[in-house]
């Protein structure tokens, strides 16, 4: 079995996605469309209330039903993609950005810096995401900003760890040594070899990180530390709909599916991306 799989000639990156990866990619494309041009997919305002349609169950008019204010759940999910994914992206950008700085400084810097940053990473690890989030709420108050900050800070050590070890592996790698032997300068080696080879796996990790950040945002919304209404944000929709779970299941099931599908698709894609480079 192993001989067979090992013998299979490596195909290009996209054909290596497999069926699951293709479905995930297709979902992410639709998601990207919802983020970029929600009005094209759902040319109805996600904010227009219609109390008469409150709690309307799924029907041809409202495929995913309507919420407590008669707003179409499907429309809100489509329009909510931007803020949900946006928050996920922002948090991931912050976490990955911080991780990048720490990881590179730690991986390439002098030993004392590595050791000092190692403690910083440990400290951040010792503060689990929601504990950190609650701490930030106690300091900054609740809202989107603290949520993004909390998720960013909480995920930063993970990225930093991955990057640090990756940077070290790459920097000590034979091809870096070879380039140095060829007389290529430090800066050029960094830009030509170390940075690209470090960032590519980061893209994979960050891809699934976005999915998890969306879930964390939802959890913060549940604890009452979320996004400002009426902007349709999935976590907030899920949190609001959960109250009506026994009478209007569609209000929580569909936003939940949106979150889980997005996170799943991004995770599958992230895993495939990281696998394709290995």
């Amino acid at each position: 079995m192993s001989a067979v799989t090992a013998a299979r000639p490596s195909a290009g990156r996209w054909t290596a996605l497999g069926a699951g990866g293709t479905v995930a990619l297709a979902f992410v494309v639709v998601l990207a469309a919802a983020v970029a041009v929600p009005w094209l997919l759902a040319p109805v305002s996600p904010l227009a209330v219609s109390p008469a349609d409150g709690f309307a169950p799924p029907s041809p008019a409202h495929p995913f039903g309507a919420d407590e204010s008669g707003r179409d759940v499907l429309v809100r999910i489509v329009h909510g993609a931007r803020s949900s994914v946006g928050i996920g992206l922002a948090a991931t950008a912050l976490g990955a950005g911080l991780g990048l700085v720490i990881g590179f400084a730690s991986g390439l810097g002098p030993r004392w810096l590595d050791s000092a940053l190692g403690r910083v990473i440990e400290v951040l690890f010792a503060l689990p995401t929601l504990v950190l989030a609650l701490l930030l709420v106690a300091v900054l108050g609740s809202g989107t900003g603290p949520s993004v900050l909390a998720i960013g800070l909480a995920t930063a050590p993970g990225y930093a760890r991955i990057l640090r070890s990756r940077v070290r592996t790459v920097a000590r790698g034979d091809y870096v040594a070879y380039a140095r032997l060829e007389g290529v300068g430090r800066a050029r080696v960094l830009l030509r070899h170390i940075v690209p080879n470090t960032l590519w796996p980061l893209v994979a990790t960050a891809t699934l990180g976005i999915g998890q950040a969306v879930v964390w945002v939802a959890a913060l919304s549940f604890l009452g530390l979320g996004q400002e209404p009426p902007s349709p944000e999935w976590g907030a929709m899920l949190g609001a709909g959960r109250v009506y779970i026994s009478t209007a299941w569609w209000m929580t099931v569909f936003p939940g599916l949106a979150i889980v599908s997005t996170a799943t698709a991004l995770t599958v894609l992230g895993r495939r991306l990281s696998g394709a480079t290995a």
Partner: protein, 543 residues
């Protein structure tokens, strides 16, 4: 049209009547026999108190639980008329500066020490002591200069200023009487288990989980709402803290708990089909309302306030979100306050009129988002929402109001925040609209909420007059009412005051402060006619 309400809503009355006759008010299909003894489990969705002594601080959660073990001097009947409780008689002097009270002489605290005039004096002084850090109860006794013990069962309050509402506010649970022997133990200990004269005694408190209350076997039936002499029927009350509404409802449905408070509207509606009984007990004093900040632009202009009120159109939302469990209010005061006045006409929805008003007020331009602009300023309304105080349905209603007022060019910015941040926004005057429930007893709440004195902040930045109304005529009326003891005269003065408040368009009344209870496997659940907290004295388990 102006009406002076003198009676409770029919539905609530019917509910109470049914309860009084010993039948399950709704649902309860099976024939269940009430029995004595057993453990009643009550699950509250309100926050867990940090201190069981309602003198300390003084919030509704403390009122809820202390109803079971502490009793105030007076109560009310369903018409809002004061009733004797620990005090049997009360009378103010002609000048309103002295109140004489006669007390029960047959009542003891649960630790055996007697209830007497000395105890009343000790309690008033406890409330006034800065170390107690009392907020709500302190307001009730603020004007009491000194307490004179006449004899064991008679006491006189000497006032700094007249206060006709004194007995009403003393009926609040936050001014309930505790044993001096308990108070003397110091705050840390007293917080864990205050000693009172109520039907139950605090047995133990497991933080975040429950407070166990055991029956006070020596209870003297002083409660005006007691339906029987002698102690309560159930042996034990387990008072549990279940913050999540869906979990609470699941616990009720599965029989883990007997009574829940703060149910969701949908669960109230569904209760009927599940054999679950429902009690609707709106809180007294103020109604739930949105207040517009008259101290700063844009709501310093009455026309803009009227435009907002005309455009808000909350009725369809209240109907669909509360599913018939809440009734639209057109009064500043709760429907249980007999002195409340109501004016539906004033709040009639009229978007055209709203547009006209805004055009006339100079908000003629609109930006790309359809928001009106004047002199470069957008018509922005910052609306901090306390997620602790506003229910999910209420937050949804605010979103609908946001959408409705957006149609005429308002940009309402809802900002759901936790309690600290919410108070912070108010203290910093970073709001144009806000919904702040306030529970006390009696129409004097108008003075607390709308007197210009209430704009002056406490050291924490807190102030009660969120509309920041500052009208000398209104102040004069409210001060005058405080010095008036004749009920009819008071009613008329308060009516004039309410008229001024309503006409200012600084207040958009929504509905009574919602206070529902669902229960199963138990009868005799009712609410105090003072602050509408549940009374378990008459409760009996059924099996």
């Amino acid at each position: 049209m102006r009406t002076i309400r003198r009676s409770l809503p029919i539905a609530a009355l019917a509910g109470v009547a049914l309860l009084a006759s010993g039948c399950a008010p709704s649902g309860g299909a099976e024939e269940a026999t009430p029995q004595s003894g057993g453990t009643l489990v009550y699950a509250t969705g309100d926050a867990e108190p940090t201190c069981l002594d309602p003198h300390v601080g003084g919030n509704y959660p403390q009122g809820l639980i202390s109803t079971q073990y502490l009793e105030p001097l007076v109560g009310r009947d369903e018409d809002g008329t004061l009733q004797p409780w620990l005090a049997t008689e009360w009378e103010a002097s002609e000048d309103g500066l002295t109140w004489s009270l006669a007390l029960r002489d047959d009542v003891s605290f649960s630790d055996g020490t007697p209830f007497d005039a000395g105890a009343v004096k000790a309690n008033v002084e406890h409330l006034q002591d800065p170390d107690t850090a009392s907020s709500t109860g302190y307001l009730a006794v603020k004007e009491i200069d000194s307490v004179e013990v006449v004899d064991a069962s008679h006491v006189e309050f000497h006032m700094s200023t007249p206060k006709s509402s004194l007995m009403e506010v003393l009926s609040q649970q936050w001014a309930a009487i505790e044993a001096p022997s308990g108070l003397e133990r110091g705050q840390e200990e007293n917080c864990l288990a205050p000693i009172g004269t109520g039907p139950f005694v605090v047995e133990s408190w497991t933080p975040q989980d429950r407070v166990v209350l055991t029956r006070n076997d020596d209870y003297v039936s002083t409660n005006p709402q007691a339906e029987h002499d002698g102690p309560a029927f159930v042996d034990t009350v387990e008072w549990r803290f279940i913050p999540d509404a869906a979990t609470r409802q699941a616990a009720l449905a599965s029989g883990e708990v007997n009574v829940v408070d703060n149910p969701l509207p949908a669960d109230i509606v569904a209760a009927e089909g599940q054999g679950i009984s429902h009690l609707d007990a709106p809180r007294p004093a103020s109604a739930n309302r949105i207040e517009l900040n008259t101290a700063q632009a844009p709501f310093d202009d009455v026309a803009v306030r009227e435009a907002f009120v005309r455009a808000a159109d909350p009725n369809p939302g209240i109907e669909s979100l509360f599913q018939g469990t809440a009734t639209r209010s057109y009064s500043v005061l709760s429907s249980v306050e007999p002195m409340g006045i109501s004016d539906e006409e004033l709040f009639a929805t009229d978007a055209a009129r709203a547009n006209e008003l805004l055009d006339d007020a100079g908000w003629t331009e609109r930006n790309d988002d359809g928001v009106r602009v004047k002199d470069g300023e957008t018509l922005t309304v910052r609306f901090p929402v306390s997620t602790n105080q506003s229910t999910a349905a209420e937050q949804s209603l605010f979103e609908q109001i946001q959408a409705n007022t957006a149609a005429v060019g308002f940009d309402v910015q809802l900002n759901p925040v936790d309690l600290s941040a919410w108070y912070g926004a108010l203290a910093a005057h970073e709001y144009e609209a806000v919904s702040a429930p306030y529970t006390t007893v009696g129409p004097d709440v108008l003075r607390i909420l709308y007197h210009s004195d209430s704009i002056v902040p406490a050291p924490s930045g807190y102030f009660a007059n969120n509309a920041q109304l500052s009208d000398p005529a209104l102040d004069a009326l409210l001060d005058k009412a405080l010095g008036t003891t004749d009920d009819d005269e008071r009613a008329s003065i308060y009516a004039d005051a309410q008229r001024i408040i309503l006409d200012s368009y600084a207040v958009l009344p929504l509905y009574d402060q919602q206070n529902h209870f669902l229960f199963q496997g138990v009868t005799g659940i009712e609410a105090l006619h003072t602050i509408s907290t549940p009374l378990l004295l008459n409760a009996q388990l059924t099996k």
